[in-house]
Symmetry: C2
Subunit: 402 residues, 2 copies
């Protein structure tokens, strides 16, 4: 498992930058990249006026980014004259790409996203990963990663980093899965199992889903709570445009907030946790259904067809979500709550009771609850885009590796 995916490149994005001339140059390179990424194509003069530096200073920065292949000149009048004033700049559609991967209970997925945010290659494989050891799962995942990287390289891209979304708690080292109950993993160092050669970030799927919402959803606020579910219920807290990780990296465990404190025992050691009322298995049990492969599809299909028992089970799950979210909204004061993942698919039947419970308990000041347009695609896209963001945040580190 140690054959490099790609030749090793020194350095990596995201390191702290010292407050020196060199640090200032790196931060200003990042500001140019972010400006062109957000508002491009732009001329050098437009970039200079947006970031408040002189035209000359911006030209030097732009030339460096063009040489490294992170920006490209669009102006076709003088294609041979790189750096010519007046020609429009855009982030490169070749050059570095972010590789995102997702380990789900029922599937593995990988994609490559370029600096423009376009998905350039993608692969999905349905595999029953429940209670399957990490080594064979990662072996399957690595095969998908190699295929996606090869396809991206065929289009002139090169992988700037790999981010892997997992349904579990990840340590702050961003490598170790501390606990993923539905996979059966515990204290599993994915860094040791994945091939060398790419900067690696392992993260919780709800966290990557929230980042996708933050970066890709139209009009997303900078402070929100993103709730998602696969088999468990997870949440991610976005504060001022960034993820709140918590001291150990475990923030957002909404599934284990007590709802009825004398309720049924939970695997976490508590009683009456939200998962006991709104987790997939609890809802299937309340609806009298067997847990199979497409659990969400089964519930949504029955609810759609008007099955009263299923609808009642989802109504009660919405009530429990509303109680747990009342506590979360009081503690976190988010601008909004977003339901993603499986919860997005079940939203039509969860939302009425969820919203009324939350409104009743927060005296009409209820926090708005919406449904993610990304649905179950969020975590994979969030993972790939987190690598792309790393490139925009410190292009100098990536340019050195290009």
């Amino acid at each position: 498992m140690s054959t490099p995916l790609h030749e090793t490149r020194p350095g990596g994005p995201g390191r702290a930058l010292p407050d020196t001339q060199q640090g200032m140059r790196r931060r200003n390179l990042a500001r140019v990249m972010h400006t062109v990424s957000a508002d491009g194509p732009l001329s050098r003069a437009a970039v200079a006026s947006r970031i408040g530096l002189t035209r000359a200073a911006v030209s030097t920065l732009v030339d460096e980014l063009v040489r490294s292949g992170l920006l490209e000149e669009l102006g076709p009048e003088r294609p041979g004259r790189v750096g010519r004033p007046g020609s429009a700049l855009a982030v490169s559609g070749r050059g570095p790409a972010g590789i995102g991967a997702e380990v789900g209970v029922d599937r593995l997925a990988v994609c490559a996203v370029d600096l423009r945010g376009r998905v350039r290659s993608r692969a999905v494989r349905h595999v029953p990963n429940r209670a399957r050891p990490a080594a064979p799962v990662v072996e399957d995942l690595t095969a998908l990663i190699r295929a996606v990287v090869a396809e991206a390289e065929g289009e002139g891209l090169w992988p700037a980093g790999l981010a892997v979304a997992v349904p579990g708690l990840v340590a702050r080292d961003a490598r170790t899965v501390v606990r993923a109950p539905n996979l059966g993993w515990q204290d599993t160092d994915l860094g040791a199992l994945l091939p060398d050669g790419l900067p690696l970030t392992v993260g919780n799927e709800a966290n990557f889903g929230a980042l996708a919402e933050l970066w890709l959803a139209e009009g997303a606020p900078r402070d929100f709570l993103h709730v998602s579910a696969e088999i468990g219920i997870g949440a991610a807290v976005v504060v001022d445009g960034g993820l709140m990780h918590g001291a150990r990296g475990f923030a957002g465990e909404l599934g284990h907030v007590p709802v009825w404190p004398d309720g049924p025992e939970c695997a976490c050691g508590g009683r009456g946790c939200l998962e006991q009322y709104a987790g997939e298995e609890a809802v299937l049990r309340a609806a009298g259904l067997e847990p199979g492969e497409d659990r969400v599809g089964l519930l949504a299909g029955r609810a759609e067809r008007g099955d009263a028992v299923v609808r009642r089970a989802l109504h009660d799950a919405g009530t429990a979500l509303g109680i747990a979210l009342t506590g979360a909204v009081n503690l976190l004061d988010p601008r909004s709550v977003v339901l993603g993942g499986a919860l997005a698919a079940l939203a039509p039947w969860l939302l009425p009771s969820l919203r009324s419970e939350l409104a009743r308990r927060t005296a009409g000041q209820a926090c708005p609850v919406s449904v993610s347009a990304l649905g179950s695609a969020g975590p994979l896209l969030g993972a790939a885009h987190s690598v792309v963001r790393g490139v925009l945040d410190d292009p100098a580190a990536v340019a050195a590796r290009a």
Copy 2:
């Protein structure tokens, strides 16, 4: 009420600094101030090696800070030769001071803290402020502020800013008290009532208490939940060494987390909120006592003397706190929970049930719960120190006003 407390000085700390030579100089001035504040007295050479700038660059920065009265030379060998290499530097014990003020339900308090963190002047007045309009309360407070400022000025200090702690929700403008139920205030702009002339920050008392804990307590972690109580129960969330404010500035409303969702109605519109079980009035009611002036002292005294009914009431309040904190710990993943304010005084009788409830519900991974050594002094000290921190964070802005 509009007579200036002090002549108006332009500028103010805490503004965003642009990434230019000028911005870099301002940030480096801040690094020098923080380094000398944390580890001084230090020579110029020692400062240079700690912050990784050249000796010459540091000398220029230090000279500017000495000229502005923010740093002083201690080296007595050549007292006439300011800037002489080798002489030790310390933050000034004259110059700017932070003025902290606290509006409590039963008292008003004000203090002045110098850049070295010493309280140089203090005044307290016991006043029943419950359901008293803001204008007369602020009039009394202003008299105390004037007395404290006058005393500080007599010692060669000048007020760099005023921070006011209130028991209520404060808008993100840091001026408007949106809701302070025990004072009876609603949408009250304290900036309009307080005298002009000093940069003003109004904040929630639990938030200032948490900042005091962060800055003043030995070995405080950078991620913790600070729970305090006066009549209500409030909490403050410290994340990576900073306060989490929430979208509207209302984060930390632990008192309205549902504990038993079918429990008694709460003034917030909910049912079974933590305040219904662990707020001062609920505990007094459960103990069969009348709410008087020194409510905490009454409860602590009776519990101390072994009153079984009071001890049972505090035990049950601890259980409710344990349930609400289970949710908070799952959502926020703090390094620890700190009980401050009135809860610190009652901790001996709250902690056993609180800790066992939290441990039972978090499968032995319980978050440590400790008691603040600052007790009820936290919010006032936190307010004054927040002004001092503002000076350390942007000394250039304050130097311009000196």
